[in-house]
């Protein structure tokens, strides 16, 4: 299949997936106990007032109608008003979204460096001491829940060494970049988790490539190790490695909920937990859709990189051999 057609079909599948997820998100918010009207008015409000507010908010329409309305406006970029209060959803989520984006970008950079650098170092000579240390170390980290890792980092760097604050206090009206120290522990936690996972995958790719005859030939020809890695080994693992990194994007966006909570980082994850507690349907739905879009985009990129890998150069022995002289 030509690459353009392939791209279009993957895109169509992704959109269908997004639609399916939007139904699931809407439905799951729908079955949560309680509704915004009772939350706003309090438990002791009279049923008449609740009904009036429900009508005003459009909550008395059937779920299908409300889903359709919501989908239409969301698709047009209008996230609507908060269900609880009169602020627009966008104004509520824009700052946390930016904060999470900053965290995700920084963490993606560090994760990539850790995964690719560590994977190269561990995989270039499979089974040597460095490889064993890194493989076992990352396995232990992968096996640990992230809040435990976050807790360990806090107890070591915030309480014992007192290098950084245990909570991410972003200056009022500023961004996390104004106080970079607020990023250190969240980024470190995400890097340890996603980086360890990525490192193990990249290591396996590099170890396999390292046994390729052309890598061995380069080593036996006395090519410097840095050149062996750069010229011979990296190009053959570049595409699958990019795929591994693309797979970490969904985690960076969606998986940060716990990390943000632990460090009280003012991002989308913290906002999500807060708004679920307040039963703010529209905000929760908006956040869920943003995270879903990011996840699906990450997988889409990974898929496309995978398709490019499949187009990779064929092995030499699949060709007919020498013709007659």
């Amino acid at each position: 299949m030509p690459i353009v057609l392939r791209l279009l079909s993957r895109l169509a599948i992704s959109l269908a997936l997004l639609l399916a997820v939007s139904i699931a998100v809407f439905a799951s918010v729908e079955i949560l106990p309680g509704d915004p009207a009772t939350t706003i008015l309090g438990r002791n409000a009279s049923p008449d007032r609740v009904d009036a507010l429900r009508e005003q908010l459009g909550l008395d329409n059937s779920p299908v109608v409300r889903y359709w309305d919501w989908l239409k406006s969301t698709a047009q970029g209008d996230l609507g008003l908060q269900a609880t209060g009169n602020r627009s959803v966008w104004s509520t989520i824009s700052t946390p979204l930016r904060n999470t984006a900053i965290l995700a970008v920084v963490a993606f950079a560090t994760t990539s460096i850790a995964a690719v650098g560590g994977g190269l170092i561990a995989g270039r000579r499979p089974g040597n001491r460095t490889d064993r240390v890194l493989s076992i170390g990352t396995l232990s980290i992968v096996a640990m829940p992230e809040f435990v890792i976050a807790g360990l980092l806090i107890s070591l760097f915030a309480f014992r060494l007192d290098w950084v604050s245990s909570v991410s206090l972003v200056p009022l009206g500023g961004t996390p970049l104004d106080a970079p120290s607020t990023l250190i522990l969240p980024v470190a936690t995400i890097t340890l988790v996603a980086g360890s996972y990525g490192l193990r995958l990249v290591r396996a790719l590099v170890a396999e490539a390292s046994a390729q005859p052309f890598v061995e030939a380069a080593r036996l020809a006395g090519v410097r190790e840095t050149a062996v890695l750069r010229r011979h080994l990296l190009p053959s693992v570049a595409a699958p490695t990019a795929q591994v990194l693309a797979f970490s994007v969904p985690y960076l966006i969606g998986g940060t909920v716990i990390v943000e909570q632990v460090f009280a980082y003012p991002g989308l994850g913290s906002l999500l937990v807060e708004q679920i507690a307040r039963r703010d349907v529209t905000v929760v739905e908006a956040i869920a859709m943003i995270m879903t879009t990011a996840v699906i985009a990450g997988f889409l990129i990974a898929d496309l990189l995978g398709a490019l890998t499949a187009r990779h150069i064929p092995r030499s022995d699949s060709r007919p051999s020498a013709a007659l002289p």
């Binding site: 040597n128 390729q212 005859p213 052309f214 890598v215 061995e216 030939a217 380069a218 080593r219 036996l220 020809a221 006395g222 090519v223 410097r224 050149a227 010229r231 011979h232 190009p235 053959s236 990779h312 150069i313 064929p314 092995r315 030499s316 022995d317 699949s318 060709r319 007919p320 051999s321 020498a322 013709a323 007659l324 002289p325």
Partner: protein, 556 residues
């Protein structure tokens, strides 16, 4: 250890002194190997797989796996290599030696361009001219378009030449070759051997191979390695003419050779004397396969038959369509036209559409028994299951029949409950034959079934096939590029060129009076130990006086 300055401008000598290499479990890979390789000579090291020959060759480059225990010493031009500082080893590899391993095209990094591949190996500045010279040295073009190509944009032959050009680009005078032509068809093999022979002058060469006929074309000195020990060495011609060890005599005898045609049996005449129906008949077969660059015709109007008890060899260079024909016959490749008859009955093109009985009649034995056997299944169980399925007997009885077949193909009953990884290559191929026999086939198709085996093992498997063919009246279609093997086993020969049958006839008709150019070409490029020995009368052996080769300028 006083490191003498390495001088790589002359053909060096290599001394190996009581080299012992053991694996972590204490098993000896090389045991007390001592070898002096004089300047300018070509030493052939011959041995079966597992004899330690590759380990020995790579040790000369200081490449010994870190888990292995090493004793003894290796010196190149007086400079100790084992245990030498990393910089000395790196310099030896970069400037002092040229190494070419098995499957040379695989050594070409797919993402790099021709010019980058060469430039990396040039010790001095890699100028445009230096790259041109390196490419011209192996008769490759050096124009700008060619330089920009990547390995997959070259033909198989060009890939072979490029790999050799790379190995030679550092202009070192020590050439280390590890099975450089194994797995090549005879035509390509001849091209590569010619090219190596052209590059040999003024160089010290060490070539490792399991194939005596290949070594015969290059070597002055022969070293026979078995289980990590040198059991015999001496001037090539003398040693081969009068082998001192039984082992070498056995290898020489097992070596497939064009000149050693087996006794012809009268072809397709039944004991009663009347004409027998053919076991397999292929008519007007047309088949093609798809590649990246389009459709390749593998068979164009191919017709032939195989009679019971007869071995028909299908020969041709790689890519001539041999395997596609085999795949069409067993029904895993859909032909465009033509019919396949089994026992005079036309069968469906797809195996899935054939009846159980029709599928039973023709069985395939692949080149790589490793890939054909389930690694997690004991070979006895796999065999018993085939008996159960094909013969419809109860399981208890299937095991018994399986064991009989197992012994029939010359395997010891102790191996019955092993998994494939605990068997040798030859044993695995015998298991594959036993599994094929479980179906009680009329026709056995052997697709390069012995080309991955050592010569002595190969000889045993070929003898087994000949015996089965005789005793069970099996028709055998033997696909190979090795004419030495054909001489040993075939009754009739079909020669394939670009998907067309260009010649067919009995073994002696085709071998003694070839008509088609392709046949003559295949015959002339086939390595033959006896022919090479005849050619190389003692006067042909070079006298390598020390220093005599030093004056020669580096080859372009």
């Amino acid at each position: 250890m006083t490191a003498q300055p390495l001088r790589f401008d002359a053909a060096p000598k290599v001394s190996i002194d009581s080299l012992t290499i053991a694996d972590p479990g204490g098993r000896l890979i090389l045991s007390d190997v001592s070898l002096e390789i004089a300047e300018g000579t070509t030493v052939g090291i011959v041995g079966e797989s597992g004899s330690g020959k590759s380990t020995l060759l790579r040790a000369i480059l200081g490449a010994v796996h870190r888990d292995l225990r090493v004793e003894g010493a290796i010196a190149v031009d007086g400079t100790p290599i084992l245990g030498a500082p990393r910089s000395v080893v790196a310099r030896l590899r970069r400037e002092g030696a040229a190494y070419l391993g098995q499957d040379p095209p695989a050594s070409l990094t797919p993402s790099m361009r021709v010019e980058q591949l060469i430039a990396e190996r040039i010790v001095e500045r890699a100028t445009f001219r230096a790259i041109t010279e390196a490419l011209h040295a192996v008769q490759l073009p050096a124009d700008r378009e060619f330089r920009r190509r990547r390995p997959y944009q070259l033909s198989g032959g060009q890939q072979q030449r490029l790999a050799l050009a790379r190995a030679l680009a550092n202009r070192s005078r020590l050439l280390l070759l590890d099975e450089p032509t194994t797995s090549l068809d005879v035509v390509t093999q001849a091209m590569v051997l010619d090219e190596i022979a052209r590059q040999q002058s003024g160089r010290t060469t060490v070539i490792v191979s399991h194939d005596l006929a290949v070594v015969a074309q290059l070597a002055d000195w022969l070293v026979v390695l078995r289980d990590g020990e040198i059991i015999e060495q001496g001037p090539f011609i003398d040693v081969v003419r009068q082998p001192a060890s039984d082992y070498l005599a056995e290898i020489i005898d097992a070596c497939p050779d064009l000149a050693k045609k087996h006794d012809q049996r009268p072809a397709h005449s039944a004991p009663g004397g009347h004409h027998l129906a053919s076991a397999l008949k292929v008519d007007g077969l047309r088949a093609a396969y798809e590649t990246r660059s389009g459709s390749v015709v593998a068979a164009a109007d191919v017709s032939f038959d195989v009679h019971p008890g007869e071995c028909v060899a299908l020969v041709g260079a790689s890519g001539s369509g041999k395997s596609t024909i085999a795949r069409s016959v067993i029904g895993v490749h859909a032909p465009e036209a033509g019919t396949v008859r089994l026992a005079d009955k036309v069968v469906a093109p797809r195996a899935a559409d054939r009846t159980h009985g029709e599928r039973r009649r023709v069985q395939l034995i692949a080149q790589d028994p490793w890939a054909a056997l389930n690694p997690r299944r004991r070979v006895g169980a796999a065999l018993a299951r085939s008996v159960e399925r094909f013969r419809g007997v109860p399981r208890s009885q299937a095991g018994k029949i399986g064991l009989d077949l197992f012994e029939r193909v010359g395997l010891h009953p102790d191996l019955f409950n092993r998994r494939p990884d605990r068997l040798s290559g030859g044993e695995r191929q015998r298991v594959a034959i036993a599994i094929a026999l479980a179906a009680e086939p009329d026709v056995l198709i052997c697709d390069e079934s012995t080309s991955a085996l050592d010569v002595s093992i190969q000889a045993g498997v070929l003898d087994l096939l000949a015996e089965l063919q005789r005793e069970l009246s099996l028709g055998v279609l033997f696909i190979t590029h090795d004419l030495g093997v054909v001489a040993r086993i075939a009754d009739r020969v079909l020669v394939l060129d670009d998907g067309k049958l260009c010649e067919h006839g009995t073994l002696s008709e085709v071998f003694d009076h070839p008509h088609h150019e392709m046949t003559r070409h295949l015959l002339s490029t086939s390595p033959s130990l006896s022919a090479t020995l005849e050619e190389r009368s003692p006067s042909h052996i070079h006298q390598h006086a020390g220093g005599k080769t030093l004056e020669q300028p580096p080859p372009l």
